[in-house]
């Protein structure tokens, strides 16, 4: 192929691509990067054309301010009639206006805040559920991070710029980013998306409780719940002990580091802590001990079916304890811990019984050898007798 033909072919391709989107608007049939990006986007799939957004040639048009952008998206996206066929909500602009982003933009004209296109993109907008979308759970953290990890920008608002980095160390992030478990929360699960706003001290429990229903329920019954209800930043529900962005998988260690933040000089409360963590630790230890024993016995080929069932029961008790301690009610924890302890003992006794049987087998070697040796002696004697 010679160069001329190649150029002609490329031109023809561009032309046909451009005309596919733009019927007769003269400025769109230039071969542009935008056309390429638009190809495959959600808007292309919906049959939109360039001039549906661009009312005039973008080259001659003055740059839009972000307010105009939001309103121009809303022309369709706030129109129930237009959105209904796609099953999309129409309240994005309304809720955006209630968000910190929206407030700053609409009341102060702040052009640095995020508007629709900052998160969704422009020509290459994709549906949230497509994995390449900037708004997909696996990408959203970085999308938020484009601004919220920018120290210079965040300092202008006196906001921390390490939240995304911290989140990425969390157990939630591990689930979303490493395990691909998209039911675990990203930024928007707690802060909202269009109505982005940090949950207040009071709402935090509600936010976490969306998923951790049982823990929330139990917490509500605890003395801590009253402290939280009293407000004044005294106690920030879940966050006070578990932290927020960098949240880790909870373990008994948490009792060592978190309780003293408020109760350092409070021996009575610390005693409750010690008792609680003691119960949980003991149950966990018993469970792991029994598990090791049962596993070893199973590998050796001892009949451990029943013990494996018992272990499952113990595990149920331990897991219940972990949830139940949110009530801080020892009288509720104690019976469960006692039950776990019982079950562990039962398992260990059972394994000991199996071991006893093994012991008897070993004991049995003595008569077996006695018999075999006397038979050997008899054979020997018989042979001697025959030889003589």
């Amino acid at each position: 192929m010679n160069a001329a033909r190649r150029i002609m072919l490329a031109g023809a391709l561009c032309w046909s691509a451009a005309t596919a989107f733009a019927a007769d608007t003269p400025w769109t049939d230039k071969c542009t990067e935008q056309t390429r990006l638009f190809t495959g986007s959600a808007h292309q799939a919906a049959g939109l054309k360039c001039e549906d957004c661009h009312t005039a040639d973008p080259k001659t048009q003055t740059a839009k301010d972000k307010q105009t952008i939001a309103e121009s998206c809303a022309k369709c996206h706030a129109d129930v009639r237009k959105m209904n066929p796609y099953g999309l909500p129409t309240d994005q602009l309304e809720s955006y206006k209630t968000s910190k982003h929206g407030e700053a933009l609409f009341s102060k004209g702040d052009q640095r805040v995020a508007v629709c296109t900052d998160c969704h993109g422009t020509h290459d907008i994709l549906k949230v559920r497509s994995p390449e979308a900037r708004t997909h759970p696996s990408n959203i953290t970085d999308t938020c991070g484009r601004c919220h990890s920018n120290e210079k920008l965040m300092s202008q608002y006196k906001l921390p710029s390490d939240v995304v980095a911290k989140y990425k160390t969390s157990y939630h992030a591990h689930l979303v980013l490493k395990k691909g478990d998209f039911s675990a929360p990203t930024c928007v699960t707690c802060h909202g998306n269009h109505g982005a706003m940090p949950p207040g001290t009071k709402e935090v429990g509600q936010v976490c409780g969306k998923c951790h229903v049982r823990q929330r329920e139990l917490f509500e019954k605890s003395p801590h719940a009253e402290a939280a209800a009293a407000g004044a930043g005294l106690f920030s529900e879940c966050v006070s002990c578990h932290g927020n962005h960098a949240i880790q998988k909870a373990s008994p260690e948490l009792f060592q580091t978190s309780c003293i933040q408020c109760h350092a000089k409070d021996p009575k409360q610390l005693a409750v802590r010690t008792a609680t963590v003691g119960l949980i630790r003991a149950a966990m230890y018993g469970y792991s001990q029994a598990t090791t024993q049962v596993q070893a016995a199973t590998i050796r080929g001892l009949p451990t079916d029943d013990d494996q069932l018992l272990l499952q029961e113990v595990k149920t008790q331990v897991t219940q304890l972990e949830a139940l301690q949110h009530t801080l009610a020892m009288e509720q924890l104690k019976p469960i811990a006692a039950h776990a302890d019982d079950l562990v003992r039962q398992t260990q006794a059972d394994i000991a019984g199996l071991e006893k049987l093994e012991w008897w087998k070993r004991r049995g070697l003595i008569p077996v050898w006695a018999f075999l040796l006397s038979m050997a002696a008899l054979f020997w004697a018989k042979r001697k007798q025959l030889e003589s």
Binding site: S183, C211, H212, V213, R214, Q215, E217, T304, D305, D306, Q308, L309, Q312, E313, K315, T316, T319, Q320, A323, F371, S374, M375, L378, F379, A381, K382, Q385, S388
Partner: protein, 145 residues
């Protein structure tokens, strides 16, 4: 020497050896026979367990039984018996029955499963695995499928 050796002593040795060999044979045959005799009604192929008699269950009554080393929850519904793995698909607690909600309930994080084993509330991510049920001569048998 041969002539002096008392015949009775020679006989005695033969008898001892004979008895010893007979004991030996018995010690071999006995374990083999017990080994061959079925130790339970079902062999190693299918794991089956009995959940008891049909008339031990009233409607909506449940029971957790062991199939091998796996707990299984058996429910009597008006349409018949259903059985599900009793290990919660969230963190593995043993589930029970919520009399009020008529649902399988997990005690640990308040996970609920409907009567088809599907999670309907709480954190469990997957349905409970279903087990087969056969009612044979009034006995409810649970088997892994």
């Amino acid at each position: 020497m041969n002539a002096q050796q008392p015949v009775s002593r020679q006989k005695f040795l033969d008898v001892l050896i004979g008895v010893g060999l007979a004991a030996w044979a018995a010690a071999f045959v006995a374990p083999v026979l017990t080994y061959v005799w079925p130790s339970q009604r079902r062999g190693p192929g299918t794991q089956t367990a009995s959940a008891g008699k049909v008339n031990e269950f009233v409607e909506w009554q449940t029971k957790v039984v062991a199939v091998g080393s796996h707990p299984v929850i058996v429910v009597r519904t008006p349409q018949g018996f259903r059985a599900y793995s009793a290990i919660c698909t969230h963190l593995g607690c043993i589930v029970g029955w919520d009399v009020v909600r008529h649902q399988i309930a997990c005690p640990c994080h308040a996970g609920y499963f409907d009567i088809n084993g599907r999670p309907v509330a709480g954190p469990p991510p997957r349905p409970l695995a279903e087990y087969g049920i056969a009612v044979v001569k009034g006995e409810v048998l649970v088997k892994s499928t």
